[in-house]
Symmetry: C2
Subunit: 322 residues, 2 copies
């Protein structure tokens, strides 16, 4: 069974069936990138409708026990997640309200600095700001997973220091293995290890590189090198798979409302458009090939269990409660 | 005639009459601190209604020529200003829309870091962030004055570097004269001077100190010491006078929605509540005593003209157009 710490794009019955086919037992879709409170509520509503219409296949989970129960029923558990803190619109009280509505993962910053802290794409990372400290305390209290994937390295270190709960880097890789602004420096991964957190290895060409995208075994070597840095208890899967994302969607993800200029996000002037999926991961059901590949690159059965879902489940149980 | 670069609180016919009595020809009230786009539109609407109901006394100005025309008619010109960029809600396009609705002053950050840059009260000042650079370009294009009063010193320096127009520090003092996080370091004031900008000296006890609040002549000495640093062409008045502000308002200004804890703003644990107004400035009409006092502390007639309104008018003419 696989837990995927982050996917994005458009989900529908066909995607749910493919997730099941790929042995995915739990996935965190992206309910928002730049959206404020009201469109975030709309997104939660849309997800509730989608899940109700497909309740034979999926269910929304808010605890580790619910994930396990859904998996036992042969369903895919959905964790509601946001890739930005804009849904809070600066309200400390909204953490609890969105948590009550089922939100279980919030990334502190997306691609730009905000009131909470600095992003990986800012020239200078502010570190954790005043509101960021308040929000971390409240996310800890309300059982919401702190996601540091797009957060700057300095802010990530400070967030880990301030959090009384383990944190997540739901979708990124080690910068020392594949250098990229979106990937995490070893000191952040060492802090994550000490914190009891988990990094989900990404299978996104722009931040994983062509070599690790060539075969599933190669990608599992990326996982193995991440384990060398963060430790076997602190690595999982967070593919960053996007479903049906068009150039228009990519423009929104990268430029939102904040610029009329050009922004390449994790891409570059040389690779401005949508990155091709990894050669081994053209469809989401290909995730079913990861388990045997992890065994082939040398992990034993217990380690494969940890990497595919055990570490995420432990983190979810710790943060969200049973 | 006096131009006051910043006041806040509740304005009504009585305040307008007192402003006239105090020889104030133009004032920038605070239309918002933490509010997003919709409450900011409501605030603009409320100001339009208030000004219409008192059109024999006041008018909204959007150019330097309109300020002069209103003053020639014996009226007080109102410049619509916001103490935060939250009204943009992250939309670069909203700069032009709010400018079209008459907004002429926007402070890049209030007391907390935001998507634009760092605040004076943050432990670490991020400098100008990606969205901040975009907003400055757009404010320059749309004729909106960039206000750096509560902005961190690093972000202030970088904002001055990025702005093709002179910028304002509408309400602050030199940190080397009265040390306070809200006051500006000499390097920022030297950069402001080189940029052609203006600092409005504040008459707010928490950031001006008891001594400079004791008499109007003492306060004019604060102005003189600011001139020593920033130069005679770059100093004006920005009292930070608040009208009818209660403890509840102060709580909103300081804590907004961002914390359930305690925040003293420009105050301190020793001085948590509303600061007493300067002894010489208990009512806004006392501003009428500033002109003669500036002469008494040694400024000649032309210098008094510059300090009381000439420098602000030059800045407004440059930024907003004639």
């Amino acid at each position: 069974m696989i837990i995927d710490g982050l996917q994005c794009g458009y989900f529908d019955r066909d995607v749910f069936e493919r997730l099941k086919k790929g042995n995915v037992g739990c996935v965190t879709p992206t309910l928002g990138f730049w959206e404020g409170a009201v469109p975030s509520l709309e997104s939660i509503d849309a997800w509730r409708q989608l899940v109700r219409a497909n309740e034979d296949l999926v269910g929304i989970a808010t605890t580790a026990a619910q994930i396990e129960a859904l998996v036992a029923q042969g369903k895919v558990a959905i964790l509601l997640g946001f890739q930005n803190a804009n849904l809070l619109e600066g309200h400390i009280g909204f953490v609890e309200l969105f948590a009550d509505l089922g939100v279980r993962v919030i990334q502190l910053t997306y691609n730009n600095q905000n009131e909470l802290g600095g992003s990986c794409y800012e020239e200078h990372d502010s570190g954790l700001a005043r509101f960021g400290k308040e929000v971390i305390r409240e996310m800890n209290r309300c059982g919401v997973v702190i996601d540091l994937s797009h957060v700057g390295n300095r802010t990530s270190r400070e967030a880990i220091e301030h959090s009384t709960q383990p944190v997540a880097i739901t979708h990124a890789n080690p910068d020392s293995v594949y250098p990229h602004k979106r990937n995490k420096t070893d000191d952040v991964l060492h802090a994550l290890r000490a914190n009891g957190g988990v990094i989900g290895c990404a299978a996104y060409r722009n931040i994983s590189g062509d070599e690790f995208c060539s075969t599933v075994d190669k990608w599992c070597e990326l996982v193995a090198r991440t384990v060398d840095i963060a430790g076997i208890d602190h690595v999982g899967i967070g593919t960053d798979k996007s479903h049906g994302t068009t150039q228009r969607d990519l423009d929104w993800m990268r430029k939102g409302n904040w610029t009329r200029g050009t922004d390449f996000g994790a891409g570059s002037a040389a690779r401005p458009g949508k990155a091709a999926p990894p050669d081994w991961f053209k469809a989401v059901e290909d995730l079913g090939n990861v388990e045997p590949a992890l065994a082939r690159v040398g992990f034993n059965a217990e380690e494969v269990r940890q990497l595919t879902h055990g570490n995420w489940l432990r983190l979810y149980r710790t943060v969200m409660g049973q």
